[in-house]
């Protein structure tokens, strides 16, 4: 059976896309979710902070996840079903309770989300004891399991998710002994550090590098370095946050072009991958946006999919390649198909930098503005359609 749409991943992006497609009149949308229930990562962050962008409400993560599932009514959500391969032309190979099978659709959306980079991939030094966890694993232990893996961890990283870990720790009666940040200032918007220090009593240490993890069976301490001086901080766990990796293994192993800079599939400005049956949205596109932003992308991608199903989406084409240059880590969409509407680009700086953000079309500056970029903060820019007419290649730089 050839469906209208298969959506890989039942988190904010995937469920929002499903809702959008159902409302557009498609009654054969299938969401594939590998976990026993849909909802995605917000399921395990039981403090408020979800729903603002897409539902205009302030909910806890689990409530938001339930609302997303409820709003996708009309789509079939198949849980406990893992996609094991992408097949050219709109197919997926899945392992489900019924065994292995191949499913096909006119459009397939990748919305597999994101995870944190584990200690091995960070090449962290030291021993390898129990008690070194990503924020996601930590929150699931606390909120789903009702257990705590440690009492006095250090938290590595200071972006938004690290503060979410701090709130989770407070909920579980865990007292983090420090938050560590290599950069000279915290990544999350102020006053995160003030909140951490004054409301939660956790010292935030910037310009501090984790040198090594110590301990036998369990974490016993971390060694840190600040201004050339090393120090041992006793602790019984380490929460790793702040370095995210799109869950794009299917793309790296599959028929779609992969962008090493974003860590996700390369898309055009219609969220379309290099195989035009595949689309991608949400945090699988790049590290990391809040779930509300991922949900909005899911909606936008679903609209493009609906257009593709109706035959009204511009035909796939090579398009104008977009490149990130000096000072920028990545930019996407990676290919632009100009039409009548303005096109939005998203980028991220390599680190904190004050400079000028420039868009160059075939080497000519077509847009420029002053920018104070912070690491892990999204940079967006909108290009009027006229700017792209007749252009062969585009680059964006922060210089």
């Amino acid at each position: 059976m050839m469906r209208s749409a298969i959506i890989i991943g039942g988190g904010p992006a995937g469920l929002s896309a499903a809702r959008t497609l159902v409302r557009a009149g498609h009654d054969d949308v299938l969401v594939l979710e590998r976990n026993p229930e849909a909802g995605g990562l917000p399921r395990f962050a039981a403090h408020p902070g979800w729903g603002m962008l897409d539902f205009h409400r302030l909910w806890s993560g689990p409530t938001y996840a339930r609302k997303l599932v409820a709003a996708a009514r009309g789509a079939e959500i198949r849980t406990n079903t893992t996609v094991t391969a992408l097949l050219p032309g709109g197919g997926v190979e899945v392992s489900g309770p019924g065994g292995m099978e191949r499913l096909w659709a006119h459009t397939v959306l990748l919305a597999a989300g994101i995870r944190e980079m584990p200690r091995g991939a960070r090449l962290l030094s030291g021993t390898r004891p129990w008690g070194v966890l990503g924020t996601g694993a930590f929150q699931e232990l606390v909120y789903a399991g009702g257990v705590r893996p440690f009492q006095q961890p250090v938290i590595l990283g200071t972006e938004l998710v690290a503060f979410s870990a701090l709130l989770t720790a407070r909920h579980a009666g865990i007292r983090p002994v420090a938050m560590l940040e290599e950069a000279p200032r915290i990544t999350a918007r102020r006053p995160g550090d003030w909140i951490a220090h004054h409301l939660l009593g956790v010292p935030v240490r910037t310009a501090t590098r984790l040198v090594a993890i110590e301990g036998g069976a369990r974490v016993e301490a971390v060694r840190v370095e600040q201004a050339g001086r090393q120090e041992r901080i006793a602790c019984d766990g380490v929460i790793l946050s702040g370095r995210f990796v799109p869950e794009a293994a299917l793309v790296r192993a599959g028929p779609l072009q992969f962008d090493a800079a974003t860590g996700g599939p390369a898309i055009d400005n219609h969220f379309r991958c290099t195989d035009p049956a595949f689309f991608a949205a949400g945090n699988v596109l790049r590290p990391v946006e809040h779930s509300g932003a991922a949900a909005l992308e899911g909606i936008a991608a679903a609209r493009a999919m609906a257009q593709a199903l109706a035959g009204t989406l511009p035909a796939p084409a090579q398009g104008i390649p977009v490149q990130a240059q000096g000072g920028l880590r990545y930019v996407y969409p990676q290919r632009l198909l100009p039409g009548d509407a303005p096109i939005r680009l998203c980028a991220r700086a390599s680190g904190e930098k004050r400079g000028r953000l420039r868009v160059l079309a075939d080497g000519e500056v077509v847009q420029e503005r002053r920018l104070h970029a912070l690491p892990d903060r999204r940079i967006t820019l909108t290009l009027p359609a006229a700017v792209l007419r007749g252009v062969r290649s585009l680059s964006v730089e922060l210089a």
């Binding site: 392992s95 309770p97 065994g99 694993a137 399991g145 009702g146 257990v147 192993a253 090493a260």
Partner: protein, 464 residues
Amino acid sequence: MNADAPAYDMAIIGAGVVGCAIFREFSLAGLRVALVERGADILSGASKANSALLHTGFDAIPGSLEAACMREGHARYQALHQGLGLPLLRTGAIVVAWSPADLAALPGIVARAHDNGVLDVRQISAEDVRTREPHLADDLLGGVLVPGEAVIDAWSAPLAYARQGLAMGGTFLPNTRVTGGSQAEAGWTLQTSQGPLSASVVVNCAGNQGDAVEAIARPSPFEIRPRKGQFVVLDKTAYPLASAIILPVPNERTKGVVICRTAYGNLLVGPTAEEQQDRENATVDQAMLEGLLAQGRRMIPALAAEPVTTTYAGLRPATQFKDYQIEALPQRRWITVGGIRSTGLTGSLGIAAHLHRLYAQHFGPLPTPADPVLTPVPNLTEEHPRPWQRPGRDEIVCHCEMVTRGEIAAALQGPLPAGDLGGLKRRTRCMMGRCQGFYCTWRVMEIAAPHVPGLVTPIQGSSA
């Protein structure tokens, strides 16, 4: 039975790969054997972290005991692996020459291999190497092909040996640290953290504690000088970048940095070779790991784009001697198996056969063995079907390595259940994939926590 008779015919101190292989050997031969391990599980020391290769012994010192044990171990593993459900990737190896000096050393490598009886080893041209391994850097100058080198699994092999020993009536005693002992006419009474243990013959294969345990019987003739090896495991997408095991031209101290596949579909780069005093902790070090990756990229440039899955380090029980330190002391009713360096995984079944002969020579004939019971271990490789592929499968808990709830539950039960989280990971591969537990830690804990105490504690007032 005489009340003073020892409880066991043989006590083996140390449940590394060598201890497990010896346990299997003598249990099959009809002895009452105890495998005594200070850790909570088998493979708590040196054997848990190595390169998982089955060597031919082509580069061993000709005439050495190590060479003989490797040759016999290599042959016995090939004969045994199917019955025990153990993987064998017949990848072969290529020693690659990257410099004129390397190239000049190749004929000597071939000659030594032939001295060691590995007769299919031959030098091949740079062109031939490139055809076989198109991802290697262009500036290679030639190579030596070693068809018999293979990739196996360092964890399931000893597990299968230990389980077969148990099935034949052997006893595994985890969490049992040997602290001393006294010899009487009938044998030994060992002092352990779990009380006294009597055995007619004691086998010391205590790995990195080998010299300390040897001191129970005599002043140790060897000194353990731990040698650390660090490794980087690359993502499964890197697997196609090398088909054979890529070896450098070795120097006196080490075989150098190897690139090879793993039985689970990853690509491995390592090891380093670092002397250290500490016998317990094998730490990884960022600068060394970056050095390994740089060396890997030097050999296979495409590795630069591959993500790291994880890193690890192992301690190899080297001594001041190059060869294994294996000796039977009939008067002391003691057998020493020391200094089994990085070749222990390959050599273990050969060492066990060697001990069998030593025992028969010095301690009298062995009883008539019963028919061997085969105890295949669950398949963890993609070579053969796994539970996640079968209709009616239960929930996949670990999404990276595709481990089902049933596989995890099974590893916590049965004749040799996982003794700690490391043991569970080694038996199932849960939490060992690219996310390293980001997605599955709670679900694994949910199943494992009742069996493996001390990992998590309930939050007071929590309903869950």
